[in-house]
């Protein structure tokens, strides 16, 4: 089942018992963020939250934690809500192979219902904005799909980027914007600023659930997020033309904000509680002038809480970070079985692989660090054997404890690139990186005493599936 907008997905979450409506009056701060923070502390199948009685507001509708559990992530992909995580990742990887699926252009976007332009733009009158963490510099848009085009190749549909970036509201019509240098929009901005030109931008809020997943996905520069959304949905992604920029934006968005990143300008932004579980420092960042806002009547303002993991953002970008690394590694190393890159956007990755010859696993680890996403993230890699499930942390810890001889199996490489937000980087943007080879050595790397491993019984896999079926049938 493919959802064309946020509202239809919220309906499904409610029918599946995965949406909690909070109708008592709440404070905009700290209640909304604290409630969303709490969803990450009450178990893996926490519900989405919907608030419509917020002190001082008359028409506020706020959705939080929409992707914030494995059950909700499964439902976003149209899977049964009890689908195990490893199966969600495998299904994600299987659907990836349908890429590209051309989008479907529609003209009747519901966000055309209302418009603010020029001096009439007032984001506070459209959005029930609120703050998340105590040390945040202000109110943020943190779950938008941001659309920009390559200024040198504006007609290339694939190079049009749809990404999630953090955006601070610093005025009624002004935003501060964080483009991480490794990300596509930073390349667009650099090309525009080299020519002294503003970069047009469209920011879409309250999108269908797969759009949120692909916007947070580390895809190749010239791959279209809309064509990937079609593959993951199993149906063309509905898009529409944004009225001011002419960009392609999701048809089903609640709000579409258009404007420009003002060329060669930086202004203080932040700090902000981040996905790393630490605050970013206050930095001078690009600023956006908003020229037009289009929005559905009574828009649902979707946001997410982020802070010390796990939070919604970890569920949202967990599988979508695993799959590109899995595909890129397998392209050259078909021995790779599975990739778990769910820890803080892939700053730490666990890879299971068969070995071609001695030393092979370490090569797989080094390749993970040189993938496009790995350049900015993968700082620690744990390699495990092909029969270890990298999503099963007790198995991974067993491999670490039984297979690792630190002198030979831990490799530290100094001064590699990492995103500036990594708290351990020194200086910001530079880190050493580590490979832990927890695979069994194979010839000619003959070390240790691994000749008699205890293996699962041959009938165990069949029994595991049988037990899962029996448990599911029990409801």
């Amino acid at each position: 089942m493919a959802y064309d907008d946020l509202r239809s997905f919220l309906d499904t979450l409610e029918k599946e018992g995965q949406l909690l409506r909070i109708t008592d009056e709440v404070l905009p701060e700290p209640d909304i963020a604290a409630a969303a923070n709490a969803t990450g502390r009450i178990g893996e199948n926490a519900p989405a939250l919907h608030f419509d009685n917020v002190k001082g507001f008359t028409d506020a509708r706020i959705a939080m934690n929409v992707h914030g559990s494995w059950a909700n992530h499964a439902l976003a992909l149209g899977l049964p809500k009890n689908t195990p995580v490893k199966e969600q990742v495998e299904e994600f990887a299987r659907r990836w192979d349908a890429f590209p699926v051309a989008p479907e252009r529609r003209e009747d976007a519901p966000w055309r219902e209302n418009t603010q332009e020029g001096e009439d733009v007032d984001l506070f009158s459209v959005l029930p904005l609120f703050r998340l963490n105590d040390g945040d510099g202000g109110f943020y848009l943190d779950k938008a799909a941001v659309v920009s085009r390559d200024p040198e190749d504006p007609d290339d549909f694939g190079k049009q980027n749809v990404g999630t970036y953090r955006i601070q509201v610093i005025g009624t019509d002004r935003l501060a914007f964080q483009p991480v240098p490794m990300h596509d929009v930073a390349q667009h901005l650099r090309k525009a600023e080299e020519k002294g030109e503003d970069l047009p931008i469209a920011i879409t809020l309250g999108n269908d659930p797969v759009m949120a997943i692909v916007a947070g996905m580390p895809m190749a520069y010239d791959q279209s997020e809309y064509e990937m959304a079609g593959a993951l949905r199993g149906a063309p992604a509905p898009i529409a033309t944004a009225p001011l920029t002419g960009f392609d934006v999701p048809w089903g968005s609640e709000v579409v904000i258009e404007g420009v990143i003002e060329s060669r300008k930086r202004q203080i932004e932040g700090p902000f509680g981040e996905f790393t579980g630490h605050y970013s420092g206050g930095r001078r960042m690009p600023v956006i002038r908003v020229d037009r806002v289009s929005y559905r009547t009574n828009p649902v303002f979707e946001s997410l809480y982020l802070g010390m993991p796990w939070t919604e953002c970890d569920y949202l970008v967990g599988p979508n970070t695993c799959v590109p690394l899995l595909k890129q590694l397998r392209a050259e190393f078909p021995e790779v079985q599975a990739v778990n890159a769910m820890y803080t956007h892939g700053l730490m990755v666990i890879i299971s692989t068969a070995k071609r010859y001695g030393g092979f696993a370490k090569a797989v680890g080094m390749r993970a660090m040189t993938t496009p996403h790995g350049l900015g993230y993968v700082a620690q890699v744990i390699l495990v054997d092909e029969d270890v499930d990298p999503f099963n942390l007790p198995q991974v810890m067993w491999a670490m404890s039984a297979k690792v001889n630190p002198k030979d199996d831990v490799v530290v490489i100094p001064n590699l690139s990492v995103l500036e937000l990594a708290p351990a980087a020194q200086p910001a943007g530079i880190s050493s990186k580590m490979i832990i080879d927890a695979t069994t050595p194979v010839a000619p790397d003959v070390r240790g005493n691994f000749s008699t491993p205890a293996k699962d019984l041959p009938e165990t896999a069949e029994w595991a599936a049988r037990l899962q079926r029996l448990i599911a049938a029990r409801g």
């Binding site: 905009p28 700290p30 040390g135 510099g137 610093i170 930086r266 206050g282 001078r284």
Partner: protein, 79 residues
């Protein structure tokens, strides 16, 4: 609300401007510091709205703001 706060809880700057008022009249205002751009709602807890209760670890000085790094750096203009 009747009057704006007199100083920024974060950087102690004394120019505070009004960004928004509550749709239900008189419940809260959203205000902003003219220097560090810190933005807060007037009914937030004291730890976010009052200088004397604001955590030291989040305070900023004029120097912090001036010396903050640019991300991303502004590239050279192409000739």
């Amino acid at each position: 609300m009747n009057h704006l706060p007199v100083e920024c809880p974060r950087c102690a700057f004394e120019e505070i401007s009004l960004l928004a008022t509550s749709p239900v009249p008189g419940v809260w205002d959203v205000v902003q510091c003219g220097r560090c751009l810190y933005t807060w709602r007037t009914i937030e807890p004291a730890r976010r709205t009052r200088r004397d209760a604001y955590p030291d670890s989040f305070k900023l000085t004029a120097q912090d703001i001036e010396n903050a790094i640019e991300v991303p750096a502004v590239p050279p203009l192409l000739k």
